[in-house]
């Protein structure tokens, strides 16, 4: 934990309220996000129990699996989920704008400009917690290789028509969530944790209810008390007042409420199957429906508080103005969304189970670039974040006390002004270190020359125009107060990787012709 985060947490403990960690909102929030609050069955990874999902805060869609061990019922749940999620995801696919992109012409090998479509907006999924992000990925993995009856008439358990497609999209969102700064799939606890520091540990911050209590405690109580109540408070029946944000459920709920309700459902279903005549069946159908309603009510009672908490979190985040550079990162999300839309439209197969060597390396490189870019952009957008970097010696703010013009000794002399910056910060400047400042949104670089009486001496290196005399306003003057960073403002592109067909011998050689991934084979362990 950085020094400034530790300080903010200490202040939060002292004041009983969360402290701001940012002055602006560092992620784009969509006008129309899709909130998804899933629950999973204890002990059965990937067996959903139910969910609240939707874009309308007042009218979430409740989806329930009354018997999570029943494949048919799970498929029905996934089909319903696809009915909600896919129309939402696809609603952004139509409206596009024309963009030009540099591509290499496969025949001539030359760089050419190509006109391509870019969707003007993209879907945004919000889940309550990090575990929810992982659950989205898991759902995607469990669905994308399924076959529908239309794709394969012989498949033993055909999936409902749109389920494999939902799997592909959820996989896309799950992968995208690994990219630092992406806003396609966000976890509310992480969003809030980025913008506020609480007086509890980061482990406890994963409890959405407790986290919100610190940020926005009820009138008259401190954040610490409210968080404690949110974490541990139980009603007379021993149920948590603030149910966990899921997807895992509270064992007390599982044992005392859910298990008996599922048992009643099972009994009602067995009774219905054993019904002897139509009249009898009618009665028992009514019992089954009642049992189903009971489970649905239970699921709603556990998900609704979380649903409301997520929207409350969105309200809190919307009180912060959006950071200017988050738009640039959102544009990358638009490209990513458009790209996946095109792959689906082109009939490409689902994402493979495992990345090949080149794809894995490329993804890692891009994510590292994204991380470096995100850290720089957040600091440049937000003085509070920059303060943290200044404390660690990675940036400094100071006043220009002297500016002296010097020139290079080339045939055509170029300006290389020397400036002295007086600062109280303690940057870790080594000999020849480069520093950067933002000049009209572009980074201007300077070289560290040394320390003098008046402060840090820097030689400005670029962004001064083409002539001998620097452009107006491109050189700092005495009295200017500037912020210099030791980190670069944009991420450098990584190494050029070979094409997958040219994977070298050190990495196992070319992966061969891509074969369509087979659906997961049925094994004796598949009891679900």
């Amino acid at each position: 934990m950085s020094l400034i985060a530790t300080l903010a947490r200490l202040q939060a403990v002292q004041s009983g309220r969360a402290q701001p960690m940012a002055t602006v909102r560092h992620r784009r929030l969509s006008e129309r996000p899709l909130v998804f609050v899933p629950l999973t069955t204890a002990g059965e990874a990937g067996a959903p129990l139910g969910a609240l999902v939707g874009t309308d805060r007042g009218r979430p869609r409740l989806l329930v699996v009354p018997q999570p061990r029943d494949r048919e019922l799970r498929f029905a749940f996934l089909a319903e989920l696809a009915e909600v999620v896919l129309p939402y995801v696809e609603s952004f696919a139509e409206e596009t704008q024309a963009e030009t992109r540099n591509e290499t012409d496969p025949e001539t090998g030359k760089k050419v400009k190509v006109e391509v479509e870019l969707c003007v907006d993209a879907p945004q999924l919000i889940v309550p917690s990090r575990a929810g992000v992982e659950f989205v990925r898991l759902l995607g993995r469990s669905m994308r290789f399924r076959r529908t009856a239309e794709q394969d008439p012989d498949t033993p358990y055909p999936a409902p028509p749109r389920v494999p497609l939902l799997g592909r999209w959820l996989t896309h969102f799950g992968e995208r969530a690994h990219v630092p700064g992406s806003a396609q799939l966000l976890a509310m606890t992480e969003l809030l944790g980025r913008h506020w520091a609480t007086g509890q540990s980061s482990l406890e911050d994963q409890h959405l209810g407790a986290l919100l209590s610190w940020i926005d405690p009820p009138v008259g109580t401190s954040g610490a008390e409210a968080a404690h109540q949110a974490e541990l408070g139980r009603d007379k029946e021993g149920q948590l007042l603030c149910p966990p944000a899921g997807p895992a459920t509270d064992p007390a709920f599982d044992n005392r409420l859910l298990a008996p309700a599922i048992e009643r459902f099972d009994r009602a279903r067995t009774a219905l199957q054993a019904a002897e005549d139509g009249l009898d069946a009618d009665d028992r159908l009514g019992e089954l429906a009642a049992a189903q309603r009971e489970i649905a009510a239970l699921i709603e009672s556990r998900t609704r508080p979380t649903w409301d908490a997520v929207w409350r979190g969105l309200d809190l985040l919307r009180t912060l103005p959006e950071a200017p550079r988050s738009a640039e990162r959102w544009t990358r999300d638009l490209w990513s969304y458009t790209g996946h839309r095109d792959r689906v439209l082109a009939g490409e197969p689902p994402q493979p189970r495992r990345d090949d060597a080149v794809t894995a390396a490329r993804k890692l490189q891009r994510r590292e670039e994204a991380q470096a870019r995100l850290e720089a952009q957040e600091a440049l957008d937000d003085p509070l974040v920059m303060a943290g970097r200044r404390l660690t010696g990675e940036a400094f703010v100071g006043e220009v006390t002297e500016a002296v013009m010097t020139y290079t000794e080339d045939k055509r002399p170029r300006p290389r002004p020397l400036i002295t910056v007086w600062t109280e910060d303690q940057p870790h400047l080594g000999a020849g270190a480069k520093v950067y400042r933002s000049l009209q949104g572009k980074p201007q670089s300077a070289e560290f020359i040394g320390y003098e009486e008046g402060g840090v001496v820097l030689r400005i290196l670029d962004k001064m125009g083409r002539g001998k005399e620097p452009d107006e306003g491109s050189v700092p003057t005495k009295g200017d107060r500037l912020c210099w960073t030791l980190f670069e403002h944009d991420a450098r592109g990584g190494a050029k990787l070979p094409d997958a067909e040219q994977t070298p011998w050190t990495h196992g050689g070319p992966p061969g012709e891509p074969t369509a991934e087979q659906p997961d084979p049925l094994t004796p362990e598949d009891v679900l």
């Binding site: 020094l3 690994h178 630092p180 390396a361 890692l364 590292e368 990584g494 190494a495 011998w505 050190t506």
Partner: protein
């Protein structure tokens, strides 16, 4: 190499063992049929010498060679060593287009051509550059041979980017030092043979398990007082020996100690090769002011007391100067704090850096801030075996560790809890175990100090 493990010091001839290993490596590299050869080298075992000698042999055999190192400093160092060994060998130094991309000392060597374009260096016997720069080279004839230096610190993805440039390669590195790292999570690929965040060697061997593997059996840097500890703690299955024996090296001071804790720990380190200056237990910020001050004072006294070293390199005693001393820390802000404290005490010329940057370097005496000193927790970063190994294996004479009391208890409270990933080879020893081994050895050389 069986003689290594079972024999006594008396019948062990370090030079013979080292020569035997080197001969086998050269044979496999020059005349072997495999596309790769892997050499594991413990700290100070003559890895750079091996790289230079192999490069000269390959050049003499008329085989075009590219050398891949990880940092510009390493590349420049290799170029200078090659030039020293054979001033007639035409060498190319491929560099980035940044200003100060390479050591300006190379400009004084007529046989060294420098360029930022690989095309300009075509036809030279040996071309050297960093992995990052090689990754941008394309549309060239592949080299017959490559030497990849510090291969255990190279990431799998950066080998992927350069492996198309050569047909065969010698991979040299130290498996005990810091593993490569990535700034984003990479659990997604854990267990895959080509996990891009793993080391180049682990990917190489996963796909080519039949490649010959060698190791250098003798550390010429570490003194007889340090080699057994470092070998036991960090290389328990591939033990190595010191090339010198106990009487070969000595550190002494012209000025007698004044009885202070700093002087006593120096005397202890001079006599035994190790010293632990222990401050009272306390949770502190990373840049613990008392520990930093204690560290700076130790360095100040080391210089003030007129240290003199005797070693196998020369019959005459050599003065211990500032450039032969290094201070090692875990974090950059700690290094910065130590630099400031040293400057306040008027000390100049002592290297102060983090474990990552001290890799591959060598000094007479090192003063180390223990990575776990004053911490309330023991994270994977601070427990990493390689970090402690680097810090404890840079010295030719003595190593002094400055630490808060209570690290043993801290370790016991924080067993390693990293999740187990399927398909990933578990690394031995783990940091927890290695830390305990080193700590229990250091505790025999403890001097308590109350600021």
């Amino acid at each position: 190499m069986t003689a290594l493990d079972g024999s006594t010091a008396a019948d062990f001839d370090p030079s013979a063992a080292a020569t035997e290993a080197t001969t086998a490596i050269l044979r496999d590299t020059l005349h072997g049929t495999d596309r790769g050869v892997v050499v594991d080298s413990p700290p100070g075992a003559g890895k750079s010498t091996l790289v230079v000698n192999t490069a000269l042999e390959l050049a003499a055999a008329g085989r075009p060679l590219m050398v891949v190192a990880q940092t510009n400093a390493q590349v420049d160092d290799l170029v200078l060593r090659l030039a020293e060994k054979n001033p007639d060998l035409p060498v190319g130094r491929l560099h980035s287009s940044d200003a100060d991309a390479y050591d300006k000392a190379l400009d004084d060597l007529p046989q060294v051509r420098t360029s930022s374009k690989a095309g300009d260096l075509a036809g030279l016997d040996v071309v050297l550059s960093t992995a990052a720069k090689w990754a941008h080279v394309k549309d060239v004839e592949p080299w017959q041979h490559a030497i990849v230096d510090e291969a255990y610190q190279m990431r799998s993805d950066s080998l992927l980017a350069v492996a198309g440039l050569f047909e065969r390669a010698l991979f040299v590195g130290d498996p005990g030092q810091l593993d490569p790292f990535s700034i984003v999570g990479s659990e997604q690929w854990a267990g895959l043979s080509y996990d891009p965040s793993a080391s180049a060697v682990s990917t190489l061997l996963a796909h080519n398990p039949q490649l010959p593997q060698h190791r250098l059996p003798v550390s010429w840097r570490l003194p007889a007082s340090a080699a057994p500890l470092i070998s036991d703690a960090f290389y328990p299955f591939t033990k190595f020996r010191s090339g010198t024996s106990h009487g070969d090296r000595a550190l002494s001071f012209g000025v007698t100690g004044d009885g202070s804790a700093h002087d006593r720990v120096l005397d202890e380190a001079a006599a035994s090769g190790w010293g632990l200056l222990e401050l009272p237990a306390r949770h502190t910020p990373r840049t613990d002011p008392e520990a930093v001050q204690a560290l700076a004072l130790v360095v100040r006294r080391l210089l003030d007391r007129g240290g003199v070293t005797v070693s196998e390199r020369s019959p005459d005693p050599a003065p211990l100067t500032a450039d032969r001393i290094a201070v090692g820390t875990a974090h950059r802000d700690q290094a910065a704090a130590v630099r400031t404290a040293l400057a306040d005490l008027g000390v100049q010329g002592v290297t102060v850096d983090t474990a990552n940057r001290l890799q591959g370097r060598e000094y007479d005496v090192t003063v180390v801030l223990h990575p776990l000193s004053g911490r309330p927790d023991a994270t994977a970063f601070h427990l990493e075996t390689g970090r402690l190994c680097v810090l404890a294996s840079r010295h030719r004479h003595a190593c002094i560790v400055v630490c808060r009391a209570g690290v043993a208890e801290l370790l016991d409270e924080h067993p390693s809890t990293e999740p187990v990933q399927l398909g990933v080879t578990v690394k031995f020893p783990d940091g927890w175990d290695a830390n305990h081994t080193v700590l229990s050895h250091l505790s025999e050389h403890r001097v308590s100090y109350r600021p």
